[in-house]
């Protein structure tokens, strides 16, 4: 693989017919063929319905493969974890299929496997989601199972112990993986004690101390019809699907959900600070540079999408072109804004060869400064096209569509969002790009996390005088022996 599609990029639409005439004449290679006229993409319509208890339902019929994806979405995710229990939302989701209704963990797994179903349960920053992907021939059993997982989990004590050990072991394994170390150190460096300074999975101390009662209380408070929406996409018929869902979820009643308040806006970083995490003998250094970014609701969203495509959101982006294609220091460099309900991070990152750690940092900062200047027209046009016109590629699978509809619900995006995305991206001007980059990308005020072989890289980093440098051990970063869940 060559990592040409960089992570963290979103996108957009269009379509056409070609204007074709003539047959196999030798081709004219003097210039690249131009695309035919664009026709706006129209997605299959989303039916917006309600169950008898008021749960909103979003249905999208797509008769392509005999599959369906059904997703129960609950407002409130890892950022609403109690300060003393980071990882609780994620742990609760993980335990749903470890005992529900009359079935044990093994019985649930047996049923799901027999249905050919893939069950996914997890918590992101802003939501918890429980999904099932299944051949439509077995949809009705699958939805009954899904309902049990969401409404009637039993949280057996022995299952909590199993998952606790599994997660603690996973956290031990983070020590091996430079990217896991970097993501942990980066969150802390940018956000400190703010909820986004944690990892959604929690930490060893919280995983050691969490109780079954914590999980039950969390479930009772957050898994309620008032916090829920259901998304169903695939080879289904809306009326039948609605009936199935109503049978499974329509009788779900519970008190109003505990209000979920979004985390406050995080204070912006002032000045530059460097955290160097020592990973002896690492042949590459992970470089993570970033700061606090805007929330998903920012009016700058479309301009930032285009700006990020130019900086590090595409293969030809400046960071990747510089660090990979020109210098050869790295297998790939990228940047992204991680949009959340509150102020998620901006990040520019690469894994670079150890002896080029200093030179790579120099190139990063060159690009972070340069993106704040005017962007040439051809580069801007290419970035707009790339960001806008690849949008349909995000609508190929049922799970992709369900995820996009979920985001629409969670972030309160307008009903016509998908069908206006392309034109909103195409309307972004050079002046807007300049304004948003000057505001949100500030290389003088950012955190720099480097995970690598200290002996070889500290002199290179220190020589650049980027800012005060703190060296941390891997154990400190991952808080392996930590007593307090919220240090």
């Amino acid at each position: 693989m060559s990592l040409r599609s960089l992570p963290g990029i979103l996108a957009a639409i269009v379509l056409f017919a070609f204007s074709l005439e003539g047959a196999a004449a030798p081709p004219d290679r003097s210039k690249p063929p131009q695309p035919g006229p664009a026709v706006p993409l129209r997605l299959p319509e989303t039916s917006r319905l309600k169950l008898s208890n008021g749960i909103p339902v979003f249905l999208v019929e797509r008769h392509k493969v005999p599959l369906a994806q059904v997703l129960v979405v609950l407002r409130g995710g890892a950022s609403a974890d109690p300060a003393s229990r980071p990882g609780l939302a994620s742990l609760t989701a993980d335990l749903l299929d470890r005992g529900a209704g009359t079935r044990s963990a093994l019985e649930i797994s047996d049923l799901a496997d027999t249905l050919g179903a893939s069950v996914t349960a997890g918590a992101g920053w802003d939501t918890s989601s429980v999904g099932i992907n299944v051949p439509v021939a077995r949809l009705s059993e699958a939805i009954a199972l899904l309902s049990d997982l969401v409404r009637n989990p039993t949280f057996p004590g022995e299952e909590l112990e199993r998952v606790r050990q599994e997660r603690l072991t996973e956290m031990v394994q983070w020590k091996d993986d430079p990217a896991e170390i970097a993501v942990t150190a980066f969150a802390r460096a940018v956000y400190g004690a703010h909820p986004y300074g944690r990892r959604p999975e929690g930490n060893p101390a919280s995983m050691r101390s969490v109780t079954r009662e914590d999980v039950r209380r969390y479930h009772a408070a957050r898994y309620t019809p008032g916090a829920a929406a259901i998304v169903a996409v695939g080879d289904l018929r809306a009326t039948e699907m609605l009936a199935l869902l109503d049978r499974a979820f329509g009788s779900w009643s519970a008190g109003a959900p505990s209000p979920v308040s979004a985390p406050p806006a995080a204070p912006q970083i002032s000045g530059r600070r460097i955290i160097l995490v020592d990973k002896p003998d690492a042949p590459q250094s992970q470089i993570w540079i970033g700061r606090v970014g805007p929330p998903r609701s920012t009016p700058d969203y479309f301009a930032l999408m285009v700006a990020n495509t130019i900086l590090g959101g595409s293969f030809t982006s400046r960071l990747n072109h510089n660090l990979r294609e020109t210098k050869g220091y790295s297998y790939g460099a990228f940047s992204q804004f991680d949009y959340r309900i509150s102020t998620g991070p901006f990040l520019a990152s690469a894994a670079v060869q150890t002896d080029k750690t200093g030179p790579s940092l120099t190139e990063f900062f060159k690009e972070l400064e340069a993106i704040r200047e005017d962007v040439p027209a051809d580069e801007l046009a290419r970035a707009r096209n790339y960001t806008a016109l690849r949008y349909p590629a995000g609508f190929e699978t049922d799970a992709q569509v369900a995820g996009r509809v979920r985001d629409q619900f969670v972030y309160g995006l307008p009903d016509d969002y998908f069908n206006t995305y392309v034109s909103r991206i195409q309307a972004v001007t050079a002046a807007e790009v300049r304004r948003v980059t000057s505001q949100w990308i500030d290389p003088k005020n950012c955190a720099i996390v480097i995970v690598g072989d200290r002996r070889k890289i500290e002199p290179q980093v220190a020589a650049l005088h980027l800012g005060p440098l703190t060296v941390r051990s891997i154990d400190e970063v991952l808080d392996v022996k930590g007593k307090s869940p919220n240090p």
Binding site: M1, S2, R4, A12, L15, F16, A17, F18, L20, A23, A25, P26, P27, P32, P33, P35, G36, L41, R42, H63, V65, P66, L67, A105, D110, D113, T114, G116, P135, V136, A137, R138, L139, R162, Q165, E166, T169, D176, R237, P283, Q284, T316, H321, R324, E325, G328, S330, Y331, A351, Q353, R382, A383, N385, Y386, R390, P392, A393, E396, T397, D398
Partner: protein, 480 residues
Amino acid sequence: MTLSPALFLSVFAAAAPALAQTAVPLPAPLPNASPSGPPGGPAAACPRIDVPYTQFQLANGLNVILHEDHTVPLVAVDVWFRVGSAREKPGRTGLAHLFEHILFEGSSHVKPGEFDKLLEGVGGDTDGSTNNDRTNYYEVLPANALELALFLESDRMGFLLDVLSPARVDQQRDVVKNERRQRIENQPYGSASIRIEEEVFPAGHPYHSPVIGSMEDLTAATHDDVAAFFRSFYSPVNASLVVSGDFQTEEARRRVESWFSDVAAGPRPPVLAAAPAVLAAEKRVTLEDRVQLPRLYMAWITPAQFHPGDEALDLLSSVLASGKNSRLYKRLVYDLQIAQDVSAVQDSRALGSMFLIAVTAREGHTLTEIERIVQEELDRVKREPPSARELERAVNQYEAGFYRALERNRDKADLLNAYDMEAGRPDYFNEDLARHRALDGRDVQSIARRQLPDDARVVLSVVPTGKTPLAATGAKGGSR
């Protein structure tokens, strides 16, 4: 746009030059009602999968397969070259994969850097991948820009070497070395798969050396080596083009015929002959790595992709390690809680496959303990056939996974190419599914007996640096 069901009906294969437009759409027998039988029982209906396609060959030998799917206004253009690391010579490993980088660096009519810029300018993405047997190159782009992908693919197939400079090659060598550092050397357990292949396939076998190549060979390859490799393997007679997505076949066909008409045929590479790899004994190997937890790998040589036994090994892998009730997961992770994870896979390949089991031990447990349980479960599956329920789980999971692989144009294009190359025709979908559905517990038992012998396998222990006593010592090993 019209939403037209892509999966139903009417296959027409035309190896002949004339388009066999015989498509007769049939209503799709998609059962939407819930079955009244037991959940997931054999009564659950299985719709027939039909992926309509048109196949033809150009005068220069290029094989072409077109498949319309109007669900989303996209096309996937997918070129397979029948060349992977198996074609490399000792001392020059990594060339097929190096080309997976070089092929994006420009050709006679595409200036350096333009390949990606042109695609991004129309909203397209592109990538490639390399394995032992083949390399693939693809673009996914808006349907109105199909022609751009055809231009780019035909240009690099026909007109690459004229402009290939040593400097561009050297630059991509550096990138590949960083790819190797990132994916192998700085990745926990990253070196294990390379070591296993070295041990399973003897020196001289085409699968002995790693796909990504060695650092030494990547440095040593001369520009002439690189150019000669391209001339040998990257011609239309050794390639296959699949276009899947939102287009009209007749128009697309004309465009393909035009853009590839000036690409010279090139030499047909000799058939790759390799004596089947044989493991004569159990080999035990220990590898130290910068990891916290030891991991046990067991590997066997097994039947090639689509050859008899390949499908039973797929299901055996599921019976052993897929889901909480699978044999190894339930014993090691769920009941005994001495392992963190287990996996099993039939890694299917053209010249002979590899069946692989991997288990990561929990803290405080040795790989000898782990191995003893794995061995007990291997003995058990050889002694008595898996139950009907175990088979049903495995088959139903396989079927669902199969449908999921048909959702994206890019994946479908890859399947059409894979079936055509390895099974002899693009529309092997139903046969592929049927060969799995036809199996019962005794088939799985007997494949385990025949293909997973205790005395012809590789047992690799990856242990934390300095902790070799954690390695698996075998059935006769102590119980420390």
